[in-house]
Amino acid sequence: MQTRMSTNAILNTRDYINKKQKKKSVDADKPLTGLLSRDTMKVENEDPLPVKLVMDIRKAFGNV
């Protein structure tokens, strides 16, 4: 049971990072207008802790 859960944790974190990286490249071309432009004023949504830790490890290995 626990084995399956942590396997899912590993896979889900990878999926999240991959999706986020893909989405960024698409969104970067579109300037936000109207009500959406307020998003830039908001504090950026923080990534979940597992994602943060994975990104830290990638940075440490120079693999970002």
Binding site: A9, D56, I57, F61
Partner: protein, 175 residues
């Protein structure tokens, strides 16, 4: 393989309620963990994994084809049992631990399998073959049982004369 004809009792399983016999706080995982935060637990593991001897052993395991997720699970579950961190912290750090191990493998140019799900399509495992055989056996048994059952004698249906329908229809008198 499991032999159905020998219904041997399982004797190495814990007795029901055995987990409640130790006093509360006697087990390491019942006490406050040594590393309450995910960062602390992760740095502990990274230090241990990147040691010269440990990393060599780790790479040997990967070369043998052990998936990274299995390794990480064993590591963090052992940590929970030793009271190093909680189960939750173990779950949080497992993706990062998998990242550490995969990066180490890439640096050492060792081929690795990330999850045990990767090789599901490759070849059937022993367990899947055993399960398939079991299913086949059960199917065959089911067919035999149906064959052995005595089929009921065919009931000869007598032709029933249709009664005239409708409100004004005249019924035929019984003779």
């Amino acid at each position: 393989m499991y032999d159905e004809s020998k219904n041997a009792p399982v004797l190495d399983a814990p007795i029901p309620g055995q987990g409640l016999t130790a006093p509360v706080g006697d087990r390491p995982w019942q006490r406050p963990p040594r590393f309450p935060t995910a960062e602390g637990a992760l740095s502990f593991y990274v230090e241990r994994l990147t040691g010269e001897r440990q990393s060599e052993e780790l790479m040997d395991l990967l070369e043998l084809g052990v998936p990274i997720d299995t390794l990480v699970d064993t590591l963090q579950l052992g940590g929970v049992m030793e009271g190093l961190h909680s189960v939750d912290v173990g779950m949080i750090i497992s993706p990062a631990l998998a990242e550490v191990v995969s990066n180490m493998a890439e640096a050492a140019e060792v081929d690795y399998v990330l999850t045990s799900e990767d090789d599901l399509d490759a070849a059937p495992t022993k367990t899947s073959i055993a399960l398939g055989l079991d299913k086949l056996r059960q199917k065959q048994k089911g067919i035999e049982i149906v064959d052995k059952k005595e089929m009921p004698d065919e009931v000869v249906e007598e032709p029933v004369e249709e009664e005239p329908k409708g409100l004004m229809a005249r019924r035929q008198a019984d003779v």
